[in-house]
Structures are given as structure tokens and as C-alpha cells.
């Protein structure tokens, strides 16, 4: 039988049904994938410069600073100055990668991000580590559970939240080519390697990681792996799930969402981000105006989280694959109830 999976590393596909998938597979924090990729794009494009705010050790952009001392600028603990300076640098033709923690880039410097970067649509790349609840032990002040929603609301923004090392690398190359501001969301903690190195990455185009027609799970960043594990387990119950990796939450791949709606009749979204204004909202906004099918959202409810190991925290706050499986069962019940009503002519 032909595999339902695309672009997945064979060892990942083999491990999906394993009860300890997350400890069995190899992992890498995408904050490091980012700084490793910077070395490559800097080689290709002499306009690339890197800006830091005293967390270069944490993103390992300090390695870049060692290799390219003249292309590296540490602003100290001054995110607002870095962000508006990045805008200024971009006006001179440079491609600044403003690097730091998601919390402080998307929120402390939000005014600068909006008024100095996005309003003039300048070519600033914002590389935001510790995005979502990917820093566990540091606690709430460092868990940027709102960043994707916030940046998504800014006119002309482009928001990318890659699931793994390979996607991050491709995203860094693509955003260097792209003309305009891009927000790149990175994980503090290690996440599984998922993709084969040759898969086609395109900003704004979802990836079908698994084929299925009973239901679709659309996930991003660290929850893509959870969506895959949920799908593998549901398959054991005879439910075939389509899994879409929505690495670019904005601009949204509307075609892929509407196709999934048409072909699978129900959707679960999964994001390590608040349920307000992020991936789930983006999908819901599109569906409600076009094809309002049953949908469930996995995301952080109206609460702050707390300190703890990354996996334990996201599990406690309802983001891991068992929660996705529950949401899938709920949305399927709603889909069949809806179909029955239709058959009886009640809707």
C-alpha cells in the first residue's frame, strides 16, 4: 500500500505509532536552526546583517558575531531601539535580521514593529525565539503565547512558524529573498526533525504531510508533530486524517483550507498560541465566510500558563496530541450530526 505520508523522514514515519514518539526521535531547537542558517544566507547575500539584544548566547547568533564581527550589532537590552534601528538600516538597503525573544520583539517593541517596520513596509526580518509556550521553566514573562496573533493583525505582515529544523532553514533562505517584513517564530526547546531535506517549501503554501478524507488537522510550529502523532493514533481507529502544516500563518493558504473543508468536511486547528487571533482564528475567519463546516480549535484558552518543563506545561494547558485526538473525536461527532440533519432536511 502506498504511504499516506509526504516529505517525512522515514524514521519519523516509522516512529509515529510509537507510544513514546517524542522521546524516541531526534530533536533540535529551531532557534539554533535559525542561527545556523544565518551563516548560509550571509555567505550568499552580503546585505544580510544580524542585530542582537543581549540574548545572542541564547540564539547562538553570537557564533555569527564571531564569524562576521562587522555584520553583527548587539544593542544590549534595548529591544525598542534595535527594532527601530533595524527599520533605519533597511532604508539604506541592508537586510537586518533583528534577533531576540518573541516576548520582547513582538510586545516590548510592538509599536516600533508596527509603525517603523510595517507601516513603511521595510525589509526587516524579525527572528523571535521562545515563541509560544516553548520556554517552559522561565515561566509566563518569557512565554510569548500571543505573538503570532499580534503580528498577524498588522497590515502587510508575513508570519512564519516552522515545525522543524529543515523548514526553519528553508524559511530563512526564503525570507532573505522576500521583499518586506517577515516575523519568524522559533522554539526555545528542541522539537523533532520531521522533513526530508528536499521538500518544496514556499512562503504562504501549506504542506500536506498526510493524506486523509475523514477530517483535517491544520497545525503549525511545535504542534505539527503532535498533529502527526494524533493522526497516526486515529488511523488505528479507522479514521484517516489529513494533516496540513501551516508554516505560514499569514498570508494564509486559503486554497488549501477550502479544499480541506470541501473534501474532509471538518477541521481541527492546533497551535501553541492563544486561541484568539492565531491560526485557529485565521481558518475560522475564512470558513465562516465561505464554507462554515464544523471546526474545533486547540490552543491556549483564556489563561496564562506557568513554569515547568516544556512538555509538561503544554500538556497541562491542553496542547499535546491527546488533546488533539479529543478535539478530532468531537469534531467528527459534529460532522456526522450535521450530515444526519442535512439528510433529514433539518438544515
Amino acid at each position: 500500500m502506498k504511504s499516506r505520508y509526504h516529505f517525512l523522514l522515514p524514521e519519523v514515519e516509522a516512529a509515529l505509532a510509537s507510544p513514546n514518539f517524542f522521546t524516541a526521535v531526534k530533536k533540535h531547537a529551531t532557534r539554533y536552526s535559525y542561527s545556523e542558517s544565518l551563516m548560509e544566507v550571509a555567505e550568499i547575500n552580503p546585505k544580510v546583517v544580524v542585530l542582537d539584544v543581549d540574548v545572542g548566547k541564547s540564539l547562538k547568533t553570537n557564533e555569527f558575531a564571531k564569524k562576521y564581527p562587522h555584520r553583527s550589532f548587539n544593542f544590549g537590552i534595548a529591544e525598542q531601539n534595535m527594532m527601530a534601528s533595524a527599520a533605519g538600516m533597511a532604508t539604506t538597503g541592508l537586510i537586518p535580521f533583528a534577533s531576540g525573544y518573541a516576548m520582547f520583539l513582538s510586545m516590548r517593541a510592538l509599536d516600533q514593529v508596527r509603525n517603523s517596520v510595517h507601516y513603511p513596509h521595510l525589509n526587516v526580518k524579525i527572528a523571535a525565539s521562545h515563541s509560544g509556550i516553548t520556554p517552559g521553566p522561565d515561566g509566563v514573562t518569557h512565554q510569548a503565547q500571543e505573538d503570532l496573533s499580534i503580528i498577524r493583525t498588522i497590515a502587510g505582515s508575513c508570519v512564519i512558524a516552522p515545525a522543524d529544523h529543515v523548514t526553519t532553514k528553508m524559511a530563512v533562505h526564503a525570507m532573505t529573498e522576500y521583499d518586506g517584513p517577515v516575523y519568524l517564530s522559533l522554539t526555545r526547546d528542541p522539537v523533532p526533525f520531521l522533513y526530508t531535506p528536499d521538500y518544496p517549501f514556499e512562503i504562504g503554501r501549506m504542506v500536506t504531510l498526510r493524506e486523509g478524507n475523514d477530517l483535517t488537522i491544520i497545525a503549525n510550529r511545535d504542534l505539527v508533530a503532535h498533529a502527526l502523532v494524533a493522526a497516526a493514533q486515529l488511523s488505528g481507529q479507522g479514521i484517516e486524517v489529513r494533516v496540513l502544516d501551516c508554516h505560514t500563518i499569514k498570508p494564509l493558504d486559503e486554497e488549501a483550507v477550502l479544499k480541506a473543508a470541501r473534501e474532509t468536511g471538518c477541521i481541527v486547528t492546533a497551535e501553541n498560541n492563544v486561541i484568539f487571533g492565531g491560526l485557529g482564528s485565521a481558518v475560522a475567519e475564512l470558513l465562516v465566510e465561505n464554507d462554515p463546516i464544523p471546526m474545533q480549535r486547540i490552543g491556549v484558552r483564556d489563561t496564562f500558563a506557568e513554569s515547568g518543563p516544556y512538555y509538561e506545561v503544554i500538556d497541562k494547558y491542553g496542547l499535546t496530541y491527546p488533546h488533539i485526538i479529543q478535539a478530532a473525536q468531537k469534531v467528527l461527532d459534529r460532522k456526522y450530526a450535521f450530515k444526519n440533519q442535512m439528510a433529514k432536511g433539518e438544515v
Binding site: D52, M103, T141, H142
Partner: protein, 282 residues
């Protein structure tokens, strides 16, 4: 610290013993958590020992007492030093110390006023605690209360523009019911402050912003106590105590090493560190 009679004014030598116990607790917490920020916790230990065991008007049995002095660790990542002070002062059981940064703990990775008894302000985003201090000092004045507000900031933290916004406003409103203590340990996260973003003439800058600035050795307990007690008496200006300190103070391999800003010791390093800070008591 059960043998100390905190109802009396503690002597400098007693405060030194407190600081030793706090340093041991800091190391214990961070070792148990295998994460956290030892360097900036150890550099501030003498200052917090003096504040919590002698200078501040507080009642650990009544952490919400309206008239208590307020304390804000604006450099919130160094909260193990705060948690050590509060535990030793009796705000909560020492058993909590092993739960730092773990799920369901009252001791969050950055201090949370809704979870930890005695924590007067939630902190962790640098450059905000000092602004909250301005607000508390204004609140005290407006409500004719005589409590004092104590704020500890980091030298790296001083790079945040909001610190200077707070400095301007405290001078405008002549907030002499507020004292800032600058933990000048010369190191931030990535590197030495001088290499990352130099601060220039620190004392002159605060003075130019309208502050009374006192400079001391932040590990000389007598000097720390004297400066804190003096600061509380100065009228007409806010006071900043610029405390020259050593990041990682008390642990030879941590002292003045930027790498110990935010990493935890292994078992061997932990044992050595405990031996060294305990030896300092003799």
C-alpha cells in the same frame, strides 16, 4: 536561621550569616531545578539580606499588610535570591525551595506576586519593576502612607529606555520614599556590559537625572546597611545606591564569568560551590 531574633536589630555579623544561608539556598534551588540564574542572584545576596533582615518594615506573618515596605526585584531573573530571603524570613516553608521552576510550584522562573507570599510585584521583563516602583511610591504619597519602596535593578537592565523614563519621573515627583539599588556586577547575559553596551559614567548619569547617588561596595555588609539606612532618611530626591558587586560572588568559578549568568551547576560543581560559600562564614 531559626536562632536569629529578628525582633531585634540584627548585627552586621548576623546579617553576614544570613547571606551565607541565602547563597546556599540559591545554589540549592538552581541545582535542583537544573536551570536559573546563579550569577545575578549571588551578587545581590548581601543587599537582600540587609533589606529583609534589618532595614525593611515587614511582617512575614502578614505579607499583604498595607503599611509594609515594598520590595521589587526589577531584575526578576535573579528571583532565587528573593525566594531565599523570603523563605529564611519565614514567608513560606523551606520545602518549597526544591520546587523552583517545576510544574505547580509557588516559585516561578520569574517572580509572580500572585503565587509567592512576600513578592510585591510580578517581574521578569527587564526595565518594568523600577517603573512599578515609581507607581508604588506615588501610591504611598497619594494615600498618605509612610512605607518605603525598595527596588533592585541590574546594570544590563539599565540599557532599557524605560529605566530612564522611571528615573525622570521619580525625580520630577521627588520620590524620596523610593530607593533604587543598582547591582553593578559588570556582566549581562551575553558578555561584560562594557563589551555589549557600555553604560558610561553611571553615577554622573543618575545625578544628571536628578537623583541622590551613593556608591558603595555591595559586599561590604556594614556599607550596605549604612547606605540603605541613610537612603531612607534623604528628603527631596529619590536615592540610588550604586553597589559595586561581583557576579557569582562567593563561588570562585562563577565569579566574573559571563557563562554563569544563566546556567546551573552539575553535582560536582554544586558541592564545590556549597563548600566555598559556607567557608565564607568563617
Amino acid at each position: 536561621m531559626n536562632d536569629l531574633d529578628v525582633s531585634k536589630t540584627l548585627s552586621v555579623s548576623e546579617l553576614k550569616r544570613v547571606a551565607v544561608q541565602m547563597r546556599k539556598d540559591i545554589l540549592y534551588m538552581i541545582y535542583e531545578a537544573q536551570a536559573g540564574h546563579p550569577g545575578g542572584s549571588l551578587s545581590a545576596a548581601d543587599i537582600l539580606a540587609a533589606l529583609y533582615f534589618r532595614v525593611m518594615r515587614i511582617d512575614p506573618a502578614n505579607p499583604q499588610w498595607e503599611d509594609r515596605d515594598r520590595f521589587i526585584l526589577s531584575k526578576g531573573h535573579a528571583c532565587p535570591v528573593w525566594y531565599a530571603a523570603l523563605a529564611n524570613r519565614g514567608y513560606y516553608d523551606r520545602a518549597h525551595l526544591s520546587t523552583l521552576r517545576k510544574l505547580n510550584s509557588i516559585l516561578q522562573g520569574h517572580a509572580d506576586m500572585k503565587k509567592t507570599p512576600g513578592v510585591d510585584m510580578t517581574v521578569g521583563s527587564l526595565g518594568q519593576g523600577i517603573c512599578a516602583g515609581v507607581g508604588m511610591a506615588l501610591g504611598a504619597r497619594f494615600q498618605k502612607k509612610d512605607f518605603h519602596v525598595w527596588v533592585v535593578i541590574g546594570d544590563g537592565e539599565m540599557q532599557e529606555g524605560s529605566v530612564w523614563e522611571a528615573a525622570m519621573s521619580a525625580a520630577k515627583w521627588k520620590l524620596d520614599n523610593m530607593t533604587v539599588i543598582l547591582d553593578l556586577n559588570r556582566i549581562q547575559n551575553d558578555d561584560f556590559v562594557e563589551n555589549t553596551m557600555p553604560l558610561g559614567q553611571v553615577q554622573e548619569k543618575w545625578q544628571a537625572f536628578g537623583w541622590n547617588a551613593i556608591r558603595i561596595n555591595g559586599h561590604n555588609m556594614q556599607a550596605v546597611v549604612d547606605a540603605l539606612e541613610e537612603a531612607a532618611t534623604i528628603k527631596g530626591f529619590p536615592t540610588i545606591i550604586i553597589a559595586d558587586t561581583v557576579k557569582g560572588k562567593g563561588v570562585s568559578f562563577m565569579e566574573n564569568v559571563p557563562a554563569w549568568h544563566g546556567s546551573a551547576p552539575n553535582a560536582e560543581q554544586y558541592e564545590q560551590a556549597i563548600r566555598e560559600v559556607t567557608g565564607a562564614a568563617a
